[in-house]
Symmetry: C2
Subunit: 222 residues, 2 copies
DNA sequence: TCCAAACATACTACTCGGTAGGCTGAAAAC
DNA sequence: GTTTTCAGCCTACCGAGTAGTATGTTTGGA
């Protein structure tokens, strides 16, 4: 299937920083894994397919990752980190709770669109695939990723609390209200299909529309 | 693993209607499959595990279903039908769009709680697992189940349109607004964990809270 | 007694995660 | 300029698990 050994690709790129090149290669593999997991799910995705995606073989993957589940965890971790990086800026502004939440929801939705593979994979959840037959270190990583997920959810919970306290939002249980809110946002990864040539403005309009929905769901009526 | 052949279970139950007994057995298998698919997903679930769940073997499954994917389709189909049956009554009342939508959302959420295995499986989606390597008849069934999903979504779209027309709801694109709405509802299947001894009233309160959220997300502010 | 429904059992063919060992080219050592 | 080294893979393989099948078996009923 492969044409030939093309030599040291990284070196041919003239890279000096070995560490950086190594990290890039890891991300190449991660991107390919995210796309494959998105399309077929964890169990149905073979590592041979993942390595095909980057024109390589399974050996390359096992040089950078120790197991299939470690690769899966890495996809989740990166998805969570992307999410945190996307929503935190709006969370930290000095604006009202309403406006902060709106900004978070817009950023979140744009992120889903722009990084669909990662976001769809994390929306599928990982507990499903790994509840059984896990060893000690895998359970530790699972707890780790779960903590990241919780950290993201907590940003929403806190901004909801702020809105309730300031009287902008209805008097809801923030932890419970965050669930359908996140559902509305994460669901985007399930139905959205990338349109080639879709403008950034169009994405923004879609994100605004969804953000309007979740904010209105919490605001007081008058 | 099995203790012994316990004879004709169905006949021992004194069933007269053979057709009904046969249907019951099919549902037993379907329930077991739904639970297994819920916990491990389609690809990671072996038919041996499914048959273990009903204290039987793979032969029993293949007597009632022709393939693993047919069983998977059947789970989806039943989940969709349960959903339709749950939300249609509220949809068809003569009340306002707001109240009809609220009733649909409450019924939908209660259904998710009461039939978690089926609803979580359909929330995972099936296209994911079966996009490739499908034959002709499987693609037909896929389209069939997709039509059922669309039919459910259309009930929501129509009630949203009614609300926009009557002025109760904001002026939104109904097809687009239905997405986050369904996301908020379906997401329940992802985070909800059954509490033994949870009262029906407690379930109802949870469902009301989520329904309030999605209705408020569409209502006009004053 | 005989039959067929309703399974159970035993197999096959195949896939896939993981591993062991080999290869290669660039760069360091001399 | 030659030799050595070793990162970065590739190849070939093994063993475990599994969908699907072919055939055997039981049992209630005709």
């Amino acid at each position: 299937m492969r044409v030939a050994q093309e030599g040291h690709l990284l070196s041919k790129l003239g890279r000096i920083e070995t560490g950086e090149a190594l990290a890039d290669r890891r991300i190449d593999i991660l991107d390919a894994a995210a796309r494959a997991f998105m399309r077929q799910g964890f169990a149905a995705t073979s590592l041979d397919r993942v390595s095909d995606e980057i024109g390589s073989t399974k050996g390359a993957i096992y040089y950078y990752y120790r197991s299939k589940s470690e690769l899966f965890f890495a996809v989740h971790r990166r998805g969570m980190e992307l999410t945190q990086a996307a929503i935190r800026p709006s969370f930290e502004t000095a604006a009202s709770a309403r406006d902060r939440l709106h900004g978070m929801a817009v950023a979140h939705t744009v992120l889903v669109i722009d990084h669909l593979p990662y976001l769809r994979v994390i929306a599928q959840g990982l507990e499903l695939h790994l509840l059984e037959r896990t060893n000690e270190s895998e359970r530790a990583e699972l707890a780790d990723v779960a903590a990241l997920r919780e950290a993201n959810e907590n940003l929403y919970i806190r901004v909801i609390r702020d809105g309730v306290a300031s009287g902008q939002f209805r008097s809801v249980d923030a932890k419970l209200a965050a669930k359908p809110l996140l559902g509305a946002l994460n669901w985007t990864s399930r139905w959205y299909q990338p349109r080639p040539g879709e403008t950034q403005a169009a994405k923004k309009r879609l994100a605004e529309s969804i953000a309007d929905f979740v904010v209105a769901g919490l605001e007081k009526k008058n």
